[in-house]
Each structure stands twice: as structure tokens, then as C-alpha cells.
Amino acid sequence: MSYFANRFLHMLFVLWAVATILFFMFRLMPGTPLAAFIDSTLTEDQQLALIVQFGLDRPLYEQYWKFLVNLVQGDLGRSFFFKKPVTEVVLSVFPNTILLTVTSLVIAYVFGIVVGAFLAWKRGTWIEGVGIPIVLTTRAAPEFWLGMVLLAIFSFNLHWFPSGGANATGSYWDSDWQRIFSADYAHHLALPALTLAVYLQGLPLLLMRSNMLEVMQEEFVTMARMKGLSEWTIVMRHAARNAMLPVVTAFALGIGFSVGGNVVVETVFSWPGLGRLLVNAVASSDYPLAQGAFLLITVVLVTMNFIADMLYAVLDPRVSHGSHE
């Protein structure tokens, strides 16, 4: 129990620290005059109201306190561009990012685990000799370039997939739910998810392979052979289960990492996600929105790090069941 509490407090600490860094970054860096938080198209009264709300006329530490208080209450200010609360804008695109991330990760990890175990089995053969360089190449390719190539071939050339966005332009949906769980959405999701999956599968693949190779050298595998257990039992029930632990943790970490890292893929495919929102907000100096998007990405990252910690504790009996004599 105390492990959980320990990691949870740690997570809160990191969140607080990063929020603080964010605060100073967006206020003190060159190129962000304090006044940039006030949309100049607002009336003077509205501007004054905002100044008071954010405490921009107050000393920095008071601003900081206000910032934290607002943050905890879920108030991230108003977007200059959308003229709506940042929280609302950010949360409206959040599902798109999550769906893209999770879909591509699931594909990548299922593929990576299976092929990684397979390559471990084929150690020393030509399959390994050819497979490893191919995997290394996928890890070396910029995802957005992969996206561009796939887009050029499968969308513009073959017309199998749409070239951008999450839904067909001009389409109308009764509800968000229907919009997301539609064939149209899936059709749009396919290419970006595939692009990301190609890029992401390298990690679980190499990790699974290396873990399997290590585990197969362990004494308990030798013992299992001496017991006369079948090779299938040994590989599936014992080796894979041991080798999977770090891969499962990596999956959780991958979610956290991808949410921010998907920026470029979202841009190539015009996928309306958090990353693209951040890029557009930064480019158009919409600071409240940029800050909000950045913050949400960070929250997901730190939360997934925490979940990964927990996962490992739960899945590895050596951690979940402490030793007691």
C-alpha cells in the first residue's frame, strides 16, 4: 500500500513541478510579453476583467498562486482564436488523440510481441539477420516521413484512404459518439494509425526479443526442461510470461510518450488531435490554448508513468508480494 501512496505523491510532485515550469516558461521566455495573455480584440472592460482574473497586475508569486488555483479548478483561461474556454477546446480534441494513440499502440504491441518472440526463437538464422536490420530501419525513419510516403501511395495515388482529417469534410453527425464510432472515422484513422504503428512496433519487438533470449537462459527454463515439460509450455507459460513484464510496462509508458510525440503525424494527416492543436496554437500565438494543450499532454504523460509503475508492481510478484519469512 505504501508503494502506491509513494508513487502517487511522487506523481503529484512531478505534476506540480512541471506546471510551475510551464508557468514560468509561458510568462518569462522571450517572445511572450505578459500582455500577450490578453486578447487585444476584447473590450477594455473585458481586458480588465481578464487582468484581474489572472492577476496580471499583481506580483509574480501572486500570479503563480492564482495560476495554481485556477489549474486545480480546471480553469485554463480562454483561447484567443476559438473564443472559448481552453479546457473546452482541449477536451474536445482529446478523444481523437487518445484513439489514435491507443489504436496504433495496440497494433504495434501485438505485432511487436509476436514477432519479437518469433525472432528470439529464430536466433542465429537468416531470418534474424534480415529481420533485425529491417526493424532498426523502422525505428530510424521519421514518422512524419513514413506518413508522407504512405499518404502519397495509398491516398493520393491509389485512393484507398482519405488524405486527412478525422471525418469527411462537411459530414454531419447526430452525436460525437456516433461520429467517432463510425466507419468513416475508422477509415480516416487507418492510415495515421498504421503509420504510427510501423514506427512504434520496433520497441516492443526488440524488447520482447531481448527479454525472451535472456529468459530462455535462466535456470528455471533449464529446470523446466529437466522436468520434461513440453517446449510449448516452457515458452508460452514460463518464458513469455516473464519476458512480457517490461513490455507491458513499456506499453503504458508508450501511451504517455505518444500523446506528445504524435504531433508530427497529426500534422501530416491533418488529424485533429492535441498535438496539432498545440502546433497551431503556438504558431498563432494563442498562448492560453498552447499552455492548455501542453498541460494536458503533460498530465497524460505523468499519469501514464505512474500507471506504468503500478502495473509493474501488480504484475511482478516480487514487488506485489514482499518477502516475509
Binding site: 529446470m223 529437466m226 522436468k227 515439460l229 510470461r241
Partner: protein
């Protein structure tokens, strides 16, 4: 009436390892018998080939090792020639293994009980209910609390783990047990306890055992017969009482001096100077010659195992002078190297 045939008979066993540096001739012509119901100690320093030979009996050897000659006859069949599949029915049901460190030999992510059940169900054909009962019985046999079946391996202490390893080995009522340094990783007090348990079980169940160890005091405590190995070869073998009270090979004499005795305290520790020869290109002479305080020119030719007593063999040209050599071996001065 002739004595019953040995349960295991090893003849001229040769095992090689392929490495980057060359081929290591880890076991170079070993022959000995394991009488039914006896505990045979296989003793020697690390690298002498005892572990390799013992593990080879189970048929599970490292990928770069191979049995290049000799036979391992169990129940009239040569195990050395058997394929992995043909060997399978014997595994654990007839021949079981107790490892040196049970920590690494149990899967850390499954409960100990589950691993016992696995052997019982998968290999023994037990149904779940009978398997549960048998698992409990096994734990009781080795003095472990039955509740512990629900624990994970890392929750056991060292001594408890070795007991669990013994329980696992006995699961399918094997006839032959190979124990590879079963108590080496334990502290002295726990060693005693586990060895006592082991001895009691062995007597009760009539098990035949090959017990590999580098510690001659363990041999003295538990074994009926002993086989002394050096540099891939057997240098002496025979009943424990004979070999330990009347060692006929200089190496055995030195070994005895090098270890404190479990049963009597005192006595000076006299290590044997030097180290074993390189097994990639072993010397053509007696392999112990370089470290032997009694070596003579005739030791340039390797000696064979010759009888020196009742069922007692030694491979030394000076075996006839064994009594005299024994006397000399007792004094530390004999073993001190002369300045180069």
C-alpha cells in the same frame, strides 16, 4: 548371491564444450556405477567436470556441449544416445534433479504450489484434487508449512527453498536423484538441517542419489560411495569410509586436508597450491602431476584406475605406497611449494 545391478552405469563418458577459444574436454573418459539405493558423492573442485557429467545424465546440457563418447546406462538403456523426445518419459518420473540454488530454478512469477502442481498434472497425470493432496504431502515430507504452497519463490528463505526443491524432485517418485551442490548456497547450520532431511528421505524412500559437491565434508556426512574427479577424469572411487580413511590418490589426500570436517572440529586447513590444467589442451601426463607433491618421472604417463581395496579404485602410479604418502600428506609442509 550376486549384488543387484547398479541403477546407473557410466562408462567412458566424454563431454566436450565448443567455445571461442577451442574445444574444452570437460569430461574425458569417466566411468563409475551408482548402486541401487546408494548415495554416490561426486566430488572435485570447480571445473573438474562433475557438474557437467551429472547434468548430462538428465539429458539437458548447454547448447554448446555435446556427449562425444561413452555411455550412460540406466535400466539397461543408454541415455547418452537418446533423443530429447525419447528421453522425455524418464524425466522427473524416473530421474529428477535438485539444483544448487532453488531461487533461480523456480519461475519467479508463479506460486511455488502452482509449480508443484504443474509437474504433478502435466507430467504425472494427476487430476487436480489428487495433485493438491500430493503437493501438501510433499511439503509435509520436507518439513514445510503447507500454507507456504501459496507463496512465491522469493518469499522463501534459502533453506526453505532447498526443501521445496527436494519436495519438487520427489513429486513423481523417481528412482534416481541428481543433486547438484544442493547445500552449497546455505549457511552451515541450515546445511546440516537440509542434509539430515535429505538423508532421512533417501533412506525411507530407497532413492539412488548422485550428489555433486566440492565439499568433502558433505560427502563424509551423507554419502555411501564417493567418486573423486579431477580435470575431467576420475582419480579415485570407492566406499566413503575407505576413500576418506585410506585415500589412495594424492588429490584426495589433499582434498581432505583442505576442508573442515562436519563431524570433527579442529585440524589445519591446507589448501592445494596451484590450479587445474587447461582442458582445451590437457597435459598428456597424469593431470595432477603439476600440483602433486609426490610426483615422479613415471607420472609422465597417465595412470589408469586400478583397484586398491575392496571396490576401491585409484588412478596413481604410487598407489602401492599410499599408506606412506598419506602420512606425509598430513603435514602442511608437504603441500608447500618449493621456491621456483
Amino acid at each position: 548371491m550376486p549384488p543387484p545391478p547398479p541403477i546407473l552405469s557410466i562408462r567412458g563418458l566424454q563431454i566436450h564444450y565448443r567455445t571461442d577459444r577451442g574445444v574444452i574436454r570437460a569430461v574425458d573418459g569417466a566411468s563409475f556405477d551408482v548402486p541401487a539405493g546408494a548415495v554416490v558423492g561426486l566430488v572435485g573442485e570447480s571445473g573438474c567436470g562433475k557438474t557437467t557429467a551429472a547434468r548430462a545424465i538428465t539429458g539437458v546440457i548447454p547448447a554448446n556441449a555435446s556427449v562425444v563418447g561413452g555411455e550412460v546406462v540406466y535400466d539397461g538403456r543408454d541415455l547418452a544416445g537418446l533423443s530429447h523426445r525419447k528421453m522425455a518419459p524418464l524425466r522427473w518420473r524416473e530421474i529428477a534433479f535438485i539444483p544448487q540454488s532453488a531461487m533461480n530454478s523456480l519461475d519467479p512469477v508463479y506460486r511455488v504450489g502452482a509449480q508443484v502442481l504443474e509437474v504433478l498434472v502435466d507430467r504425472g497425470g494427476y487430476d487436480r484434487k489428487r495433485a493438491d493432496a500430493r503437493a501438501a504431502e510433499l511439503f509435509q515430507m520436507v518439513g514445510l508449512d503447507v500454507k507456504r504452497l501459496r507463496d512465491y519463490p522469493h518469499q522463501f528463505s534459502g533453506g526453505m527453498r532447498q526443501r521445496a526443491a527436494i519436495a519438487l524432485a520427489l513429486a513423481l517418485e523417481p528412482r534416481l536423484i541428481i543433486a547438484d551442490e544442493p547445500v552449497t548456497a546455505l549457511d552451515v547450520v541450515v546445511q546440516r538441517q537440509v542434509l539430515d532431511l535429505f538423508k532421512a528421505l533417501q533412506r525411507r524412500l530407497g532413492l539412488s542419489v548422485i550428489l555433486v559437491t566440492h565439499d568433502i565434508s558433505v560427502v563424509a556426512y551423507v554419502c555411501d560411495q564417493v567418486v573423486v574427479m579431477y580435470a575431467g577424469k576420475i582419480v579415485e572411487s570407492g566406499p566413503v569410509e575407505a576413500v576418506l580413511t585410506r585415500p589412495s590418490h594424492p588429490y584426495t589426500m589433499g582434498l581432505y586436508n583442505a576442508f573442515p570436517d562436519l563431524q570433527r572440529s579442529g585440524g589445519t586447513l591446507v589448501p592445494i597450491d596451484g590450479s587445474p590444467p587447461d582442458l582445451i589442451d590437457p597435459p598428456k601426463s597424469c593431470r595432477f602431476q603439476a600440483r602433486c607433491p609426490f610426483q615422479q618421472p613415471r607420472c609422465d604417463a597417465p595412470p589408469d584406475l586400478e583397484p586398491v581395496g575392496d571396490d576401491h579404485y585409484a588412478a596413481c602410479w604410487r598407489a602401492d605406497d599410499a599408506a606412506e604418502l598419506r602420512r606425509l600428506a598430513e603435514s602442511p609442509a608437504t603441500w608447500e611449494r618449493s621456491p621456483a
